[in-house]
């Protein structure tokens, strides 16, 4: 029998601010919790009961506090090993956390944030999100720009964000040849015109620069079927529109999608398709390319184009361009069955599919300086599902590319407010065991500061000192203060469907 996870949690007295198991999307049978997941969840419940009683506060309120979050990390360490920096004192005193991780310690610049054009798309209810421990509604409001502002800027420490594109192309003209505008251009769930519009609204509201935006246009979006090649006039027209009219700050490419029905995906190192785009972009003065790599199952037939093997030549041939490799090319997420299959992760080397190839590119080209692994979804989801792999992800990124090249992204609000991912990174550390065995270095506060925002700021030309001076006074900060004073906070109720006997 299936029951809602929140219902089972209530029965079992579980109210976790961290996910403790994958859950089903109702199409497939939920996988039962494994022994460690059961242990972790049980411990969270026991510790929360004990501590909330000691503090004489309702357990639900306790779990919503920083003490609840600390409890979840502490319980995780007791089960999986010492992966997170957390002290027992933090579970009883918010000041202990405040002292350890002072507010504003890091400038958080999230390069991978999304909302939708008013449509609910099921992510906040998806298999491995169901147990996020947050009140993740999955309706149009939850994916709206309004909720985006709340969850990204009010409910988290994020100071700046890039509104990041998703697959989709705009239609330039009607059948009668009339140039289309706004919604008539279509473009999917988060079109370029909408990202631009909302970026400008947000910055106007804030009275400063809080948001940047990407453009979805890519080399295979406009196709000339007669010559079976890109329709460059149409492509360049759209590029000019996105740069000049929309004011985009980066391209967002999905090489493994084909919204233009070209019949194929494309490679970054394709001299006939990608290179003319690069040259045109340089001409337009836009040099930042954000490329989705990994999470290959998101394509029906073109998943192989999400492999990072094409980054090397493109980056070497275009040292004046910046390539941000989204998801650090993690081939499969923990919600996919292939994640658990043999050969995906090798604990002896710490390598895992496609990420290892991204690392090899830098090994082969130590001088390569224009490739940046981004950690959206990869870090957060591995932190929950496989803390050891998560350490390999970050440690290898830093080892090969340097902490000055690892870029912070969360993929939120797909997974709710990013604060849980931010908290995880603050407490994240590479274990002594892995450092010794694989030659990794412990992360320093400076490493984390780089990752959290300084690296992205450098790429996008943001003066962090100036930003830090401007932020406290801007309208968004004032609104956030009022929201928090009014008792606004993230919700932690868990959703999802699990076996009632699990």
């Amino acid at each position: 029998m299936w029951i809602p996870k929140w219902q089972r949690d209530r029965q079992k007295g579980v109210d976790s601010p961290m996910p403790t198991q994958p859950v089903s999307n109702e199409e497939f049978l939920p996988r039962p919790q494994n022994k460690q997941q059961r242990q972790w969840e049980k411990l969270i419940g026991e510790l929360a009961e004990e501590k909330s009683r000691k503090l004489n506060m309702p357990r639900r309120d306790f779990m919503r506090s920083s003490m609840g979050m600390a409890t979840a990390f502490l319980a995780s360490n007791m089960v999986y090993g010492p992966n997170w920096e957390v002290d027992a004192a933090e579970t009883l005193d918010p000041a202990a956390t405040e002292e350890k991780f002072p507010k504003g310690e890091y400038f958080v610049f999230d390069v991978q944030t999304h909302f939708t054009d008013g449509v609910a798309i099921g992510f906040r209810n998806a298999e491995f999100v169901r147990n996020m421990g947050f009140e993740l509604e999955d309706n149009p409001d939850a994916y709206s720009f309004t909720n985006y502002v709340k969850e990204i800027f009010f409910d988290s420490d994020t100071s700046m964000a890039v509104i990041s594109g998703v697959p989709g192309k705009e239609i330039n003209k009607s059948l009668e040849g009339k140039v289309l505008e706004g919604r008539d251009r279509r473009g999917g769930i988060l079109p370029s015109w909408l990202m631009s519009q909302r970026k400008n609204e947000l910055n106007r509201l804030a009275g400063g620069q809080r948001a940047l935006c990407q453009g979805n246009c890519a080399p295979n979006h406009y196709w000339d079927r007669a010559s079976n090649a890109p329709d460059f006039p149409a492509l360049f027209e759209q590029m000019e529109r996105e740069v000049k009219k929309y004011g985009i700050d980066s391209w967002k490419w999905y090489c493994h999608t084909d919204p233009g029905r070209s019949g194929d995906g494309f490679r970054l190192d394709d001299e006939k398709m990608a290179y003319p785009f690069f040259e045109k972009s340089k001409e337009l003065g836009l040099n930042v390319f954000s490329i989705h790599k990994g999470f290959a199952s998101q394509s029906r037939t073109l998943g192989h184009f999400a492999h990072p093997g094409d980054v090397e030549k493109a980056a070497l041939d275009h040292p004046d361009l910046t390539f941000i490799v989204y998801h650090s090319a993690l081939k499969h997420g923990p919600g996919e069955p292939q994640f658990s299959e043999d050969g995906f992760f090798d604990p002896n080397s710490g390598d895992f599919a496609w990420h290892a190839e991204l690392m090899q590119i830098k090994e082969r080209n130590p001088g390569l300086d224009n490739v940046y692994p981004e950690i959206g979804s990869s870090f957060g989801l591995l932190a929950i599902a496989h803390p050891e792999m998560c350490q390999h992800l970050i440690a290898k990124n830093v080892k090969h590319y340097g902490s000055d090249h690892v870029i912070w992204g969360t993929d939120c609000l797909w997974w709710g407010s990013p604060q849980w991912v931010i908290d995880a990174m603050k407490r994240f550390q590479i274990s002594d065991k892995l450092c010794e065995k694989f030659g990794y270095e412990k992360l320093t506060k400076q490493d984390k500061a780089n990752i959290f925002g300084l690296n992205a700021a450098k790429i996008y030309g943001i003066d962090v000192n100036q930003q830090l001076q401007a932020l406290p006074a801007d309208a968004l900060t004032r609104l956030k203060t009022a929201y928090l004073d009014d008792g606004g906070q993230r919700d932690n109720a868990a959703h999802g469907w699990v076996r009632d006997h699990a």
Binding site: D117, A120, P167, G188, D258, P259, R261, R300, T301
Partner: protein
């Protein structure tokens, strides 16, 4: 664009001839005395015959949100109507051993088929076209062993050449003329060019508006949108093998968009005589389609028994016995015994002149 009313008259007129012939054929069959009077299968809905395909949302965009489908879709038979040629395939190894075969194997980019034969394909210079190799790989048939899809795709066998060929050659037109309609997506019937390999979400779900996220009834084949005549039409676009487009003469429909009425342009022989010549696997499809299209039966469609996303037909075992079960099972037998010739191992035994087996 032709006026809708005129379009209806045109198709109703053409389909009327077909319909009259069908009724005549059925009226002469003594078994049909108890049957209700058949309706004109072309009399409902619309079509896109001769029009360009709408600029539909491609599957890669769909899978961005429908992430539960992606991880398993790669192994789904509907996804593997064309599959990438991986070097370890036995069919490719056999081709390499064939005279002049090494170069041809190296040129092969895609494979089609598995159980009865494997065909070799490469991309044409033209948009939306594939060249088909005249030589084919025929696996050794092992009727006593139940195999899964992966085993079938990699069974041992040998290369065969058509009788009138001296050596294998790439054929530029065969795939477009015979295979494209059911092995690729959105084939433009004028140029016979497809827009994507294998079957995209569009093939079965049609042109789904973005608003389906707010109202799932806007998505064809969602739980709220399974109109039986649309279901048998969209499945029938490929599974009614032997049918033919009136307007193009091709063995696949002319610009069919899921949700359309297939029978406004696609001719199918639903007569008992015709059905009796079909192997059981094909016959049950024709019978069910006929029940829905001609006799307004609404209780059972393909989706009653088949779950495409999970590649499962398990549900059919839980059903009460109905007439269509008689295609394969002996009616009234307690354990639903299979008819003679429909052994467990050969239960999906099929033939198709179009497909070449």
């Amino acid at each position: 664009m032709r006026d809708c009313q005129d379009r209806w008259r045109f198709h109703a007129g053409v389909s009327g001839l077909f319909f009259a012939a069908l009724m005549l054929a059925m009226a002469t069959d003594a078994q049909d005395v108890a049957r209700p009077r058949p309706v004109d299968p072309a009399a409902w809905g619309g079509d896109h015959v001769g029009q360009p395909f709408p600029p539909y949302v491609t599957g890669d965009e769909c899978l961005f949100c429908h992430r539960d489908i992606g991880p398993t879709w790669g192994d789904n038979a509907h996804q593997r109507t064309i599959r990438p040629a991986t070097p370890d395939e036995l069919s490719l190894a056999a081709l390499r051993e064939f005279p002049r075969g090494k170069d041809l194997a190296d040129q092969t980019q895609y494979l089609l088929g598995s159980e009865r034969m494997t065909r070799f394909l490469k991309r044409s210079e033209e948009y939306g076209k594939l060249d088909l190799l005249s030589a084919m790989f025929r696996p050794q048939q092992n009727a006593d062993v139940e195999t899964d899809e992966a085993s079938r795709e990699n069974a041992p066998g040998e290369i065969h050449l058509p009788a009138d060929d001296d050596e294998p050659r790439w054929e530029p037109h065969t795939f477009a003329d015979r295979c494209a309609g059911c092995h690729t997506t959105a084939v433009d019937s004028r140029g016979k060019a497809f827009s994507s390999l294998s079957l995209d979400c569009f093939t079965c779900h049609g042109d789904v508006p973005l608003e389906h996220t707010k109202d799932t009834s806007l998505a064809l084949l969602s739980a709220k949108h399974r109109e039986p005549r649309q279901v048998i039409s969209l499945c029938g676009q490929c599974h009614l093998r032997g049918g033919r487009s009136k307007s193009t003469g091709l063995p696949y429909p002319n610009t069919f968009v899921a949700g359309d009425n297939l029978f406004r342009d696609f001719q199918v022989d639903f007569s008992d005589e015709g059905l009796n010549t079909l192997p059981a696997a094909d016959r049950h499809i024709f019978e069910n389609t006929r029940d829905v299209a001609l006799f307004n039966q609404t209780e059972m469609t393909c989706l009653t028994c088949h779950d495409v996303h999970t590649s499962s037909s398990e549900r059919h075992q839980a059903l009460e016995e109905v007439t269509i079960c008689g295609s394969c099972h002996i009616p009234g037998t307690e354990s639903r015994e299979l008819r003679e010739g429909i052994s467990e191992s050969a239960k999906f035994h099929v033939h198709s002149r179009v497909c070449g087996y």
